[in-house]
């Protein structure tokens, strides 16, 4: 049996600034995931900004899982996560005056 896989584009080019979180993504069927953050445009310094992986019992209430994506100079940053229950999202806070547009892909595999 092939392993099921699916990539969801959970954020696409909307302007992100201040505190934000991606929309809840239900993926309890998957056993592993990678969040890829491809930065399309940045204003201000994003060096070292951490976007935290969050998990949830119900898709409404969230807590940090412990993994995070650290933004740097490169176009694409990522982090891996496993054993995450039924929902995932990415949450972070950009520094005052900074903003970005990104494609955030959630790559899932059973």
């Amino acid at each position: 049996m092939l392993r099921e896989s699916y990539t969801a584009i959970v954020e696409r080019s909307e302007e992100l600034k201040g505190g934000f979180a991606t929309e809840p993504y239900e993926c309890g069927w998957a056993g592993e995931a990678i969040f890829f953050v491809r930065t399309l445009e940045r204003v201000g310094s994003l060096e070292g900004v951490r976007l935290n992986v969050q998990i949830s019992p119900d898709g409404i209430r969230w807590c940090d899982e412990g993994a995070s994506v650290t933004l740097g100079e490169e176009e694409v940053a990522f982090c891996k996560v496993a054993h995450f229950g039924n929902w995932l999202r990415l949450s972070g806070t950009l520094p005052d005056g900074a903003r970005m547009r990104a494609i955030i892909a959630l790559s899932l595999k059973a």
């Binding site: 099921e4 699916y6 969801a8 584009i9 959970v10 696409r12 080019s13 909307e14 929309e23 809840p24 993504y25 239900e26 993926c27 309890g28 069927w29 019992p57 119900d58 898709g59 409404i60 209430r61 039924n86």
Partner: protein, 286 residues
């Protein structure tokens, strides 16, 4: 359908609840993945910014186990997983997923699905008027026309219950996309121009809290040769389709034999709305 064909369908629990035409074009049971259903995106050229803004964020579909804060995993009608479409928590937001194939015979086709819809269970309230609409559309093309049957259940509008089935034949304006005169786009799901189908009112089994799912049957038949909608049905309600029609557009480049199906959900309040599709079957007669 011939008796032996029906007997074969009846022997398979995943097919016996459908009434397909002789050829099954696809049968998507979401216990086996998303099976080609993908977020709808608008046309663009050179930059994503060239897209019509209504198409910029139609949200990716998910495989949902229907899990809730109060009772845990509800599951699907058959098995655990259904395809879930989710809006953002913003009144008027729409989520659309589409499956794209082409037709090999210009004859009858039939779409059947089992579905339900709910608002996000973020409030301990009935919330029955929070989902604005759910719907299904075809996007089709033959040598002369692109035609687009649209059918939706308008559950509520601006806080008021409606509970009516509607269709849309009014065309929306086309806009040039980019600067090379190669691409156009139109937002056919715009809120204007919807008309009630005959005998449109239908109360669906919402149940009593947002975490209780009851599944509904949907069927939409088309005649590709006659460019007609020939049957609209939800559960036990069959509508008279005599006066029901699709959007008609002169044939466009690069869309020959297109046979696309899309589902969507729209929220009426600043709360996420969810459409769950347990399974979809598209069949044809040739």
């Amino acid at each position: 359908m011939q008796e032996h064909s029906r007997a074969i369908l009846n022997a398979d629990p995943s097919l016996s609840r459908f009434d397909p035409l002789p050829r099954i074009i696809y049968h998507d049971d979401f216990n086996r993945g998303l099976r080609g259903w993908v977020e709808l995106i608008g046309n663009y050229e050179d930059s994503l910014d060239s897209m019509l803004p209504q198409y910029a964020d139609m949200r990716p579909p998910m495989l949902s186990s229907g899990t809730h804060w109060d009772t845990g995993t509800h599951g699907a009608m058959q098995g655990t997983y259904s395809m879930k479409l989710a809006t953002r928590a913003r009144a008027g937001d729409i989520s659309v997923s589409i499956k794209r194939v082409t037709w090999r015979h210009r004859g009858p086709v039939r779409l059947e699905a089992y579905f339900t819809f709910k608002p996000e269970a973020s409030a301990l309230q009935l919330s029955v008027d929070d989902v604005r609409a759910v719907g299904v559309l075809f996007d089709l093309q033959d040598q002369e026309y692109r035609w687009m049957p649209h059918w939706r259940y308008l559950n509520a509008l601006q806080g008021e219950p409606v509970r009516s089935w509607q269709f849309k034949r009014k065309r929306e304006p086309f806009h040039d996309i980019g600067g090379r005169a190669e691409t156009v786009s139109h937002f056919h799901l715009a809120p204007s121009g919807w008309e009630n189908v005959p005998d449109s009112a239908q109360i669906l089994c919402y149940n009593e809290v947002a975490t209780k799912f009851n599944w509904y049957y949907l069927r939409m038949d088309l005649d590709l040769a006659g460019r007609q909608i020939t049957h609209l049905q939800c559960n036990d309600r069959v509508h008279d389709v005599t006066a029901v029609g699709p959007m008609m557009i002169p044939a466009m480049p690069n869309l020959d034999c297109m046979l696309n199906v899309a589902f969507w959900v729209e929220t009426d309040v600043d709360k996420r709305a969810f459409l769950y599709v347990d399974s979809v079957l598209l069949s044809g007669d040739w």
